[in-house]
Protein backbone atom coordinates (compact mmCIF):
# COMPACT_ATOMS: atom_id res chain seq x y z
CA UNK A 1 0.00 0.00 0.00
CA UNK A 2 1.61 3.32 -1.01
CA UNK A 3 1.43 6.62 0.87
CA UNK A 4 -1.58 7.94 -1.03
CA UNK A 5 -3.59 4.76 -0.46
CA UNK A 6 -2.68 4.87 3.23
CA UNK A 7 -3.77 8.49 3.44
CA UNK A 8 -7.07 7.76 1.67
CA UNK A 9 -7.69 4.91 4.12
CA UNK A 10 -6.87 7.13 7.13
CA UNK A 11 -9.00 10.05 5.92
CA UNK A 12 -11.96 7.86 5.03
CA UNK A 13 -11.93 6.35 8.52
CA UNK A 14 -12.37 9.90 9.80
CA UNK A 15 -15.43 10.51 7.59
CA UNK A 16 -17.87 11.39 10.35
CA UNK A 17 -21.10 13.19 9.41
CA UNK A 18 -20.29 16.79 8.57
CA UNK A 19 -22.74 19.65 8.65
CA UNK A 20 -22.36 21.48 5.33
CA UNK A 21 -21.64 25.20 5.49
CA UNK A 22 -24.65 27.42 4.88
CA UNK A 23 -25.32 28.78 1.40
CA UNK A 24 -23.16 31.88 0.78
CA UNK A 25 -26.24 34.02 0.03
CA UNK A 26 -27.63 33.12 3.45
CA UNK A 27 -24.25 33.74 5.02
CA UNK A 28 -23.87 37.12 3.29
CA UNK A 29 -27.39 38.16 4.30
CA UNK A 30 -26.69 37.13 7.88
CA UNK A 31 -23.53 39.29 7.96
CA UNK A 32 -25.44 42.17 6.36
CA UNK A 33 -28.20 41.82 8.96
CA UNK A 34 -25.66 41.81 11.79
CA UNK A 35 -23.92 44.89 10.35
CA UNK A 36 -27.24 46.73 10.05
CA UNK A 37 -28.18 45.73 13.60
CA UNK A 38 -24.80 47.01 14.83
CA UNK A 39 -25.39 50.22 12.89
CA UNK A 40 -28.89 50.66 14.35
CA UNK A 41 -27.71 50.03 17.92
CA UNK A 42 -24.79 52.43 17.52
CA UNK A 43 -27.01 55.13 16.06
CA UNK A 44 -29.44 54.62 18.95
CA UNK A 45 -26.56 55.00 21.42
CA UNK A 46 -24.60 57.84 19.76
CA UNK A 47 -27.57 59.53 18.07
CA UNK A 48 -28.50 60.41 14.49
CA UNK A 49 -27.32 63.64 12.94
CA UNK A 50 -29.90 66.30 13.93
CA UNK A 51 -30.18 67.67 10.37
CA UNK A 52 -30.80 64.28 8.74
CA UNK A 53 -34.20 65.28 7.29
CA UNK A 54 -32.61 68.32 5.61
CA UNK A 55 -29.57 66.32 4.43
CA UNK A 56 -31.88 63.76 2.81
CA UNK A 57 -33.20 66.54 0.55
CA UNK A 58 -29.76 66.60 -1.08
CA UNK A 59 -29.76 63.99 -3.90
CA UNK A 60 -25.94 63.63 -3.70
CA UNK A 61 -26.17 62.68 -0.04
CA UNK A 62 -28.91 60.14 -0.81
CA UNK A 63 -26.83 58.75 -3.70
CA UNK A 64 -23.81 58.48 -1.37
CA UNK A 65 -25.85 56.56 1.20
CA UNK A 66 -27.21 54.30 -1.54
CA UNK A 67 -23.67 53.64 -2.82
CA UNK A 68 -22.47 52.88 0.70
CA UNK A 69 -25.36 50.45 1.13
CA UNK A 70 -24.45 48.91 -2.24
CA UNK A 71 -20.86 48.48 -1.05
CA UNK A 72 -22.11 46.89 2.15
CA UNK A 73 -24.32 44.40 0.28
CA UNK A 74 -21.70 43.48 -2.34
CA UNK A 75 -18.83 43.14 0.15
CA UNK A 76 -20.96 40.95 2.47
CA UNK A 77 -21.95 38.72 -0.42
CA UNK A 78 -18.47 38.62 -1.89
CA UNK A 79 -16.83 37.81 1.46
CA UNK A 80 -19.29 34.93 1.84
CA UNK A 81 -18.52 33.60 -1.66
CA UNK A 82 -14.78 33.97 -1.10
CA UNK A 83 -15.09 31.76 1.98
CA UNK A 84 -15.63 28.79 -0.36
CA UNK A 85 -12.67 27.29 -2.27
CA UNK A 86 -14.44 27.55 -5.64
CA UNK A 87 -16.19 30.88 -4.82
CA UNK A 88 -19.35 28.77 -4.97
CA UNK A 89 -18.74 28.84 -8.74
CA UNK A 90 -20.01 32.44 -8.88
CA UNK A 91 -16.79 34.24 -9.72
CA UNK A 92 -18.39 37.34 -11.24
CA UNK A 93 -20.57 37.94 -8.22
CA UNK A 94 -17.55 37.52 -5.95
CA UNK A 95 -15.82 40.33 -7.85
CA UNK A 96 -18.85 42.66 -7.62
CA UNK A 97 -17.29 44.94 -4.95
CA UNK A 98 -14.68 46.06 -7.51
CA UNK A 99 -17.41 47.44 -9.79
CA UNK A 100 -19.28 48.94 -6.86
CA UNK A 101 -16.08 50.58 -5.61
CA UNK A 102 -15.47 52.21 -9.02
CA UNK A 103 -19.06 53.50 -9.05
CA UNK A 104 -18.58 54.84 -5.54
CA UNK A 105 -15.36 56.66 -6.50
CA UNK A 106 -17.08 58.19 -9.55
CA UNK A 107 -20.04 59.25 -7.44
CA UNK A 108 -17.76 60.97 -4.94
CA UNK A 109 -15.94 62.73 -7.79
CA UNK A 110 -19.26 64.03 -9.18
CA UNK A 111 -20.44 65.06 -5.69
CA UNK A 112 -17.23 67.02 -5.24
CA UNK A 113 -17.73 68.66 -8.63
CA UNK A 114 -21.34 69.55 -7.71
CA UNK A 115 -20.37 71.02 -4.31
CA UNK A 116 -20.55 74.67 -5.48
CA UNK A 117 -20.06 76.80 -3.50
CA UNK A 118 -18.16 74.35 -1.26
CA UNK A 119 -19.77 73.66 2.12
CA UNK A 120 -17.69 74.97 5.02
CA UNK A 121 -15.01 72.60 6.32
CA UNK A 122 -15.59 71.32 9.86
CA UNK A 123 -13.04 72.17 12.57
CA UNK A 124 -11.94 68.55 13.06
CA UNK A 125 -10.04 66.33 10.62
CA UNK A 126 -8.42 62.96 11.40
CA UNK A 127 -10.89 62.31 14.23
CA UNK A 128 -13.36 61.10 11.62
CA UNK A 129 -10.94 58.47 10.22
CA UNK A 130 -10.17 57.36 13.75
CA UNK A 131 -13.87 57.07 14.67
CA UNK A 132 -14.58 55.00 11.56
CA UNK A 133 -11.61 52.74 12.28
CA UNK A 134 -12.64 52.20 15.89
CA UNK A 135 -16.23 51.54 14.86
CA UNK A 136 -15.07 49.07 12.19
CA UNK A 137 -12.86 47.10 14.55
CA UNK A 138 -15.60 44.86 15.95
CA UNK A 139 -17.13 43.86 12.58
CA UNK A 140 -13.64 43.33 11.16
CA UNK A 141 -12.59 40.99 13.97
CA UNK A 142 -15.92 39.14 13.77
CA UNK A 143 -15.80 38.59 10.02
CA UNK A 144 -12.16 37.44 10.11
CA UNK A 145 -13.01 34.97 12.87
CA UNK A 146 -15.89 33.58 10.82
CA UNK A 147 -13.85 33.43 7.59
CA UNK A 148 -11.16 31.41 9.35
CA UNK A 149 -13.70 28.60 9.83
CA UNK A 150 -14.12 28.27 6.08
CA UNK A 151 -11.70 27.36 3.32
CA UNK A 152 -11.13 30.32 1.04
CA UNK A 153 -8.50 29.98 -1.65
CA UNK A 154 -8.06 33.73 -2.17
CA UNK A 155 -6.91 34.86 1.30
CA UNK A 156 -5.63 38.30 0.25
CA UNK A 157 -8.80 39.14 -1.65
CA UNK A 158 -10.94 37.81 1.21
CA UNK A 159 -9.00 40.06 3.59
CA UNK A 160 -9.56 43.13 1.41
CA UNK A 161 -13.28 42.47 1.01
CA UNK A 162 -13.72 41.72 4.72
CA UNK A 163 -12.06 44.95 5.86
CA UNK A 164 -13.95 46.93 3.21
CA UNK A 165 -17.17 45.48 4.60
CA UNK A 166 -16.21 46.52 8.14
CA UNK A 167 -14.95 49.95 7.07
CA UNK A 168 -18.09 50.64 5.01
CA UNK A 169 -20.20 49.86 8.09
CA UNK A 170 -18.16 52.46 10.00
CA UNK A 171 -18.35 55.04 7.21
CA UNK A 172 -22.13 54.54 6.96
CA UNK A 173 -22.50 55.10 10.69
CA UNK A 174 -20.46 58.32 10.65
CA UNK A 175 -22.42 59.79 7.71
CA UNK A 176 -25.65 59.21 9.62
CA UNK A 177 -24.21 60.42 12.93
CA UNK A 178 -22.14 63.49 12.10
CA UNK A 179 -23.66 66.78 10.86
CA UNK A 180 -21.29 67.58 8.06
CA UNK A 181 -21.94 68.68 4.48
CA UNK A 182 -18.36 69.27 3.37
CA UNK A 183 -17.74 66.75 0.63
CA UNK A 184 -14.02 67.59 0.56
CA UNK A 185 -13.74 66.69 4.23
CA UNK A 186 -15.77 63.51 3.67
CA UNK A 187 -13.56 62.41 0.77
CA UNK A 188 -10.33 63.25 2.58
CA UNK A 189 -11.05 61.94 6.06
CA UNK A 190 -13.88 59.42 5.58
CA UNK A 191 -13.11 57.67 2.31
CA UNK A 192 -9.43 58.13 1.43
CA UNK A 193 -8.39 55.98 4.43
CA UNK A 194 -10.23 53.17 2.60
CA UNK A 195 -7.14 52.85 0.40
CA UNK A 196 -4.93 52.24 3.43
CA UNK A 197 -7.52 49.83 4.76
CA UNK A 198 -7.35 47.86 1.49
CA UNK A 199 -3.60 47.37 2.05
CA UNK A 200 -4.22 46.30 5.65
CA UNK A 201 -6.87 43.86 4.38
CA UNK A 202 -4.46 42.40 1.84
CA UNK A 203 -1.80 41.84 4.49
CA UNK A 204 -4.18 40.54 7.18
CA UNK A 205 -5.82 38.18 4.70
CA UNK A 206 -2.45 36.78 3.74
CA UNK A 207 -1.46 36.27 7.37
CA UNK A 208 -4.75 35.25 8.97
CA UNK A 209 -6.82 33.51 6.34
CA UNK A 210 -4.27 30.91 5.23
CA UNK A 211 -5.27 27.37 6.08
Amino acid sequence: MNNIEQLVATLSKDAATVKPAPHPYGLGLKWLGLALAYLAISLAVFGMRPDLARALQNPWFVAELAALFGMLVTTALSAALLAFPDLYQKRRLAMAPAGMFVQFVLLMAFSWHADVPPAPLPAHSFECSLSILLFSLLPAVAIFQILRRYAGTHPQLSGIVAVLFAFTTGAFWLRLHESNDSIIHVIEWHYLPMLAVILVGYWSGKKMLKW
Binding site: N2, V8, A9, L11, S12, T17, P20, T153
Partner: protein, 168 residues
Protein backbone atom coordinates in the same frame (compact mmCIF):
# COMPACT_ATOMS: atom_id res chain seq x y z
CA UNK B 1 -19.57 13.45 -1.78
CA UNK B 2 -23.11 13.78 -0.45
CA UNK B 3 -22.86 10.22 0.93
CA UNK B 4 -19.39 11.00 2.32
CA UNK B 5 -20.76 14.08 4.12
CA UNK B 6 -23.35 11.80 5.67
CA UNK B 7 -20.56 9.67 7.14
CA UNK B 8 -20.39 6.85 4.54
CA UNK B 9 -16.73 5.81 4.84
CA UNK B 10 -16.82 3.54 1.77
CA UNK B 11 -18.25 6.31 -0.44
CA UNK B 12 -15.69 8.73 0.94
CA UNK B 13 -12.78 6.35 0.23
CA UNK B 14 -14.04 5.90 -3.35
CA UNK B 15 -14.39 9.66 -3.76
CA UNK B 16 -10.86 10.32 -2.51
CA UNK B 17 -9.44 7.60 -4.77
CA UNK B 18 -11.28 9.02 -7.78
CA UNK B 19 -10.09 12.51 -6.83
CA UNK B 20 -6.52 11.20 -6.72
CA UNK B 21 -6.96 9.72 -10.20
CA UNK B 22 -8.41 13.03 -11.41
CA UNK B 23 -5.78 15.32 -9.93
CA UNK B 24 -2.59 13.34 -10.49
CA UNK B 25 -2.25 14.27 -14.21
CA UNK B 26 -3.11 17.90 -13.38
CA UNK B 27 -0.25 18.05 -10.85
CA UNK B 28 2.15 15.94 -12.92
CA UNK B 29 1.88 18.44 -15.79
CA UNK B 30 2.93 21.24 -13.46
CA UNK B 31 5.62 19.56 -11.34
CA UNK B 32 8.88 17.97 -12.41
CA UNK B 33 9.62 15.30 -9.83
CA UNK B 34 7.35 12.33 -9.21
CA UNK B 35 7.81 12.52 -5.44
CA UNK B 36 6.71 16.17 -5.54
CA UNK B 37 3.47 15.12 -7.24
CA UNK B 38 2.80 12.63 -4.46
CA UNK B 39 3.64 15.20 -1.76
CA UNK B 40 1.31 17.82 -3.20
CA UNK B 41 -1.38 15.24 -3.85
CA UNK B 42 -1.29 14.26 -0.19
CA UNK B 43 -1.59 17.91 0.85
CA UNK B 44 -4.52 18.35 -1.54
CA UNK B 45 -6.33 15.30 -0.13
CA UNK B 46 -5.85 16.56 3.43
CA UNK B 47 -7.13 19.99 2.38
CA UNK B 48 -10.17 18.43 0.68
CA UNK B 49 -10.83 16.55 3.89
CA UNK B 50 -10.54 19.72 5.99
CA UNK B 51 -12.70 21.77 3.62
CA UNK B 52 -15.37 19.16 2.93
CA UNK B 53 -17.97 21.14 4.89
CA UNK B 54 -17.77 23.83 2.16
CA UNK B 55 -19.13 21.42 -0.44
CA UNK B 56 -22.88 20.84 -0.27
CA UNK B 57 -23.45 18.58 -3.26
CA UNK B 58 -25.59 21.10 -5.14
CA UNK B 59 -22.86 22.21 -7.53
CA UNK B 60 -20.28 20.30 -9.65
CA UNK B 61 -17.56 18.63 -7.59
CA UNK B 62 -14.65 18.96 -10.02
CA UNK B 63 -14.26 22.79 -9.96
CA UNK B 64 -14.33 22.65 -6.17
CA UNK B 65 -11.62 19.98 -6.01
CA UNK B 66 -9.51 21.70 -8.69
CA UNK B 67 -9.75 25.03 -6.83
CA UNK B 68 -8.24 23.37 -3.75
CA UNK B 69 -5.60 21.57 -5.83
CA UNK B 70 -4.59 24.81 -7.54
CA UNK B 71 -4.39 26.61 -4.19
CA UNK B 72 -2.14 23.92 -2.68
CA UNK B 73 -0.03 23.73 -5.84
CA UNK B 74 0.58 27.49 -5.73
CA UNK B 75 1.50 27.18 -2.06
CA UNK B 76 3.94 24.39 -2.84
CA UNK B 77 5.52 26.24 -5.78
CA UNK B 78 5.85 29.43 -3.73
CA UNK B 79 7.71 27.64 -0.91
CA UNK B 80 9.70 25.56 -3.43
CA UNK B 81 11.01 28.66 -5.21
CA UNK B 82 11.63 30.43 -1.90
CA UNK B 83 13.71 27.40 -0.81
CA UNK B 84 15.63 27.42 -4.08
CA UNK B 85 16.35 31.12 -3.70
CA UNK B 86 17.53 30.61 -0.12
CA UNK B 87 19.74 27.67 -1.13
CA UNK B 88 21.15 29.70 -4.02
CA UNK B 89 22.02 32.50 -1.60
CA UNK B 90 23.69 30.05 0.78
CA UNK B 91 25.78 28.58 -2.02
CA UNK B 92 26.65 32.06 -3.25
CA UNK B 93 27.82 32.91 0.27
CA UNK B 94 29.89 29.75 0.38
CA UNK B 95 31.47 30.50 -2.97
CA UNK B 96 32.45 33.99 -1.79
CA UNK B 97 34.99 32.61 0.66
CA UNK B 98 36.20 29.59 -1.29
CA UNK B 99 39.35 30.11 -3.38
CA UNK B 100 38.47 30.83 -6.99
CA UNK B 101 40.09 27.67 -8.38
CA UNK B 102 38.07 25.48 -6.01
CA UNK B 103 34.86 26.77 -7.56
CA UNK B 104 36.20 26.46 -11.04
CA UNK B 105 37.51 22.95 -10.52
CA UNK B 106 34.01 21.88 -9.44
CA UNK B 107 33.36 22.48 -5.75
CA UNK B 108 31.50 19.62 -4.13
CA UNK B 109 30.51 18.41 -0.69
CA UNK B 110 33.54 16.10 -0.39
CA UNK B 111 35.93 19.04 -0.63
CA UNK B 112 34.65 20.47 2.65
CA UNK B 113 33.39 17.25 4.26
CA UNK B 114 36.24 17.25 6.82
CA UNK B 115 35.12 20.66 8.07
CA UNK B 116 31.48 19.60 7.99
CA UNK B 117 32.20 16.60 10.21
CA UNK B 118 33.71 18.94 12.84
CA UNK B 119 30.37 20.74 13.16
CA UNK B 120 27.91 19.81 15.93
CA UNK B 121 26.30 16.47 15.09
CA UNK B 122 22.89 17.84 14.14
CA UNK B 123 24.28 20.50 11.80
CA UNK B 124 26.66 18.02 10.20
CA UNK B 125 23.83 15.54 9.63
CA UNK B 126 21.67 18.22 8.04
CA UNK B 127 24.40 19.36 5.65
CA UNK B 128 25.28 15.77 4.79
CA UNK B 129 21.67 14.90 3.99
CA UNK B 130 21.12 18.08 1.99
CA UNK B 131 24.36 18.30 0.05
CA UNK B 132 25.69 14.77 -0.14
CA UNK B 133 22.46 12.82 -0.40
CA UNK B 134 20.45 15.53 -2.13
CA UNK B 135 17.42 15.74 0.18
CA UNK B 136 15.40 18.95 0.37
CA UNK B 137 15.07 20.82 3.67
CA UNK B 138 11.52 19.47 3.99
CA UNK B 139 12.62 15.87 3.49
CA UNK B 140 15.49 16.31 5.97
CA UNK B 141 13.01 17.71 8.48
CA UNK B 142 10.81 14.63 8.11
CA UNK B 143 13.79 12.31 8.31
CA UNK B 144 15.26 13.68 11.53
CA UNK B 145 12.01 14.73 13.19
CA UNK B 146 12.51 18.51 13.16
CA UNK B 147 10.38 21.12 11.53
CA UNK B 148 11.39 22.56 8.17
CA UNK B 149 12.19 26.05 9.47
CA UNK B 150 14.42 24.63 12.20
CA UNK B 151 16.34 22.63 9.59
CA UNK B 152 16.84 25.75 7.48
CA UNK B 153 17.99 27.78 10.47
CA UNK B 154 20.45 25.02 11.52
CA UNK B 155 21.79 24.79 7.94
CA UNK B 156 22.21 28.54 7.77
CA UNK B 157 24.14 28.57 11.07
CA UNK B 158 26.31 25.74 9.81
CA UNK B 159 27.13 27.72 6.64
CA UNK B 160 28.20 30.66 8.77
CA UNK B 161 30.46 28.49 10.93
CA UNK B 162 31.95 26.88 7.81
CA UNK B 163 32.56 30.27 6.26
CA UNK B 164 34.42 31.48 9.36
CA UNK B 165 36.55 28.32 9.48
CA UNK B 166 37.37 28.26 5.79
CA UNK B 167 38.22 31.95 5.74
CA UNK B 168 41.00 31.40 8.24
Amino acid sequence: MQQALNGDTQAYATLLSETTRLLRPFLARRLYAGNEVDDVLQEVLISIHKARHTYDGTRPYKPWAYAIAKFRLQDHLRSHYADQLRDAQDIAELENFLPEDVTESGFNYESISTEVEKLPEKQATILRLMHQEGYTAKEVAEKIGMNESAVKVAAHRAYKVLRRRLER
